[in-house]
Symmetry: C2
Subunit: 473 residues, 2 copies
């Protein structure tokens, strides 16, 4: 495994070249993180459909248990159990808009990962930076467990566990544990742990920060280890079922075939689960004893247990919903953790929006009314009062609004309108609206998906590496 160890040293060096005091060495986070034999246990999965240009290039890298769809180049990187989903990349002939100009895209967009170490990470969407229409670049970067890199080119940066960067260019920055950033760009910034931050230049800024003790209870993390705490443990308990799906790809015992073609064979669907039409269940989603109404979805790393989604509900990457009943068109943001129980159920009214990285872990039954925004940390009805605002009230805001730990500044109408517009786009992209005459989305385009599995080299000088590969349809 000498080459593999050298590779890990290389990505540490490359990230460190960018970082500044006091955070200057990512080595302790990743050097011994994964036991070496785990790097050859699972292969890399490459998906092909007739609907997405597909080209996969990988060199001097490891991609154990990782999943690729779309165009992707990986060089001198470690992608451990990571999803690179390129089904929303721009195509040749599309246009990007910037300052009123429309510029044509010259080639099919490609996700290019270099000198990086991503563990249990999700990469999705396309490069939001109009300056780079054809390349969604991830370079010299470390992303820890269950980080989301969503439409965000990123260079020389560190993302903590459960961190999300969303539609943001990130350079030479550190984004802390369980932090969410949608800020257009970050340059040489350090985003503290547990910070949820949405900024649209000249329009609004919205920020919530978790209390340190709450964060410590839900996402405990020490360099070199796996994330623990209530959320970390909750995810870890279900990980072996997900792992089995990837082991299965290599000939191990199967579990029953999902009911719908749009349920990935790399997802877990178990117990008394009902899957409606135009539902998307992505690879590495976990669905148990759950009703997924028509047009609802569960993205990568989502966990749905004892949940009831009435229909057209969006569960963004990493969202977790336990003993909850969602009305129609509810949006649950990235990495949220919503946990009711049979004694203390959670209900969410239709068209409500759960902010990314919200924790609702109930001690009593809580009922979120329709068309409300919820955020922060909620255990009971009193917490809810401090952590919710109706979309109508928020739309009327033009200035500052403070509720609990949330500070909103700017035009509420722009925030609400932007969010609703984005949810509509997500529903359409997922194929949730196919029955009502919209075009095909992911749920339909993946119906005839095929998967190839490439194993890592198990002995010799290149042991632990993925074979050098170019694969194209």
């Amino acid at each position: 495994m000498e080459q593999l160890q050298r590779l890990i040293g290389h990505v540490i060096d490359r990230a460190n070249l960018h970082l500044k005091e006091p955070f200057t060495d990512v080595g302790p986070y990743v050097r011994e993180l994964i036991p070496l034999p785990s790097f050859t246990r699972q292969g890399a999965v490459y998906a092909f459909t007739g609907h997405h240009p597909a080209r996969y290039v990988i060199r001097e890298s490891n991609a154990a248990g990782s999943y690729f769809l779309g165009q992707c180049v990986v060089e001198r990187s470690v992608l451990f159990q990571t999803d690179v989903r390129g089904d929303e990349l721009k195509c040749k002939g599309d246009t990007v808009s910037c300052s009123g100009m429309k510029v044509p895209v010259q080639d099919h967009e490609v996700i290019h990962v270099r000198n990086s170490y991503l563990v249990n990470t999700l990469v999705h969407s396309n490069c939001h930076d109009p300056g780079s229409p054809e390349v969604f670049d991830i370079r010299d970067t470390i992303a820890m467990h269950y980080a989301n890199i969503h439409g965000s080119p990123i260079r020389g940066s560190y993302l903590g566990p459960f961190a999300t960067v969303d539609l943001t260019s990130v350079q030479d920055s550190v984004v802390g544990t369980f932090s969410y950033v949608q800020a257009g760009e970050l340059y040489r910034e350090r985003v503290e742990d547990g910070c949820v931050w949405v900024r649209a230049k000249d329009k609004f800024e919205c920020r919530y920060t978790f209390d340190r003790d709450v964060l410590e209870r839900y996402v405990r993390f020490k360099p070199g280890g796996e994330p623990g705490g209530i959320i970390g443990d909750f995810v870890a308990q279900r990980k072996s079922d997900i792992d089995a799906r990837f082991d299965m790809a290599e000939g191990h015992p199967d579990v029953p075939v999902p009911e719908r073609p749009s349920v990935s064979r790399f997802a877990v669907v178990k117990g008394n689960a009902r899957i409606g039409s135009d539902v998307l269940v992505a690879q590495r989603a976990y669905v148990e004893d759950t009703v997924m109404g028509d047009g609802s979805n569960a993205q990568e790393n989502c966990i749905l247990v004892g949940a009831n989604l009435e229909g057209r509900d969006v569960t963004a990457h990493g969202g977790k919903i336990v003993f909850a009943r969602l009305g129609k068109n509810v949006f649950v943001g990235f990495n949220s953790f919503l946990r009711g129980s049979s004694d203390h159920p959670l209900t969410i009214g239709e068209h409500s929006i759960v902010m990314p990285h919200t924790i609702a872990d109930l001690d009593e039954a809580v009922d979120i009314p329709p068309r409300h925004l919820v955020y922060g940390y909620i255990r009971n009805r009193a917490d809810l009062a401090a952590n919710t605002v109706s979309l109508d009230d928020l739309s009327r805001c033009d200035g500052e609004l403070k509720r609990g730990n949330l500070v909103f500044r700017g035009k509420g109408a722009a925030f609400v309108h932007g969010f609703e517009h984005r949810i509509e786009h997500i529903l359409e992209a997922n194929g949730a609206l196919f029955a009502s005459g919209h075009g095909m989305g992911h749920a339909q385009k993946n119906a005839n998906i095929s998967h190839s599995v490439v194993r890592h080299i198990t002995e010799g000088a290149l042991q632990g590496l993925h074979p050098a590969m170019e694969l194209q349809a």
Copy 2:
């Protein structure tokens, strides 16, 4: 599947460009042979070990259910459930000998398949032609079910079902159903059906031809169909078990893991089977209720049922052994069909040699003595008398020897010595002699083999094709 149909037309055209009256069109043999959906059912398997240079390139081709080990380039070809085993290719720095000269090999040898259609075919060994040390070329060629292309570069030719070309350069030729040729070279020749022909220029020539009615009974074949008859049916009855191993590669139910690392996970081992040490069971071998003594082997397409191999027995590619007991160091040649029964067992004494393409299908118990050569068609002890010669008697021959349908001309000693030398080489290459201090062979080198599975494209313009690929360790 338009591209795939175009590809099939292309390989038909390319073969036809070489062929002469009266055999001028291979179209009826392959055009409708495989139902189109079968071309996307199984993926292609690529093996990696730390002991063989590995580079796989495939373009504009289909390789459904095929297995590759070593260096191989496939272009504009159809390889259906075909094995391309490059574990005996020459390496850079090896030398080839010719007319007393030793010439160094400049690059790792590669098997290069172009414009060809191979179905259930085995390709193995390395290019015997000293004029092409680095390329084992298979071009503009059609090979039907269970043909063996062993060390034989081949161009513009047709091989019938169960035909074997062994250490022979074949050009613009036709080799009939169940024919075996080891003749150095064939140029614009037509080898009739059921002909077993060994020729070493200036040394000896050995020829046996099956009676037409025997051949018709054992290998019945019509253009466009699968081979039938007793051997064809025998193989077909066990094919679904083999297919299941390749389906399994894509996540279908598994069968128990073989007992030894040198038993391929793409072999079938079932019933009361005992596998000794340093045994090689290659992919697509079928072993049932059989004892395989130390250092014995079963190559691709071998079927062993109720057999007892005492040790260091070689079953060459496609050999079938049913209710037979083999002493030590017995050699069973390519595609032989040896079938005793519990009432009429077959025993073969040590160091005996069963010629390639021998049929022994017993009506009474038959006991082949040690150090004998057997050939042809044997049903009882009377047949045996006409179809056997002791190696000592044969060694003394210098001139002509006729027995039954066999005609041998030349120096018997050269024939026997050459055969024994080759068997020793095969044992060593297989790793059968590892326990007695020889180097590693296939049985040992494959202990940590890993397999990648690449699926064919299931929809869109390229449906039915393998993704364009380059894969290298």
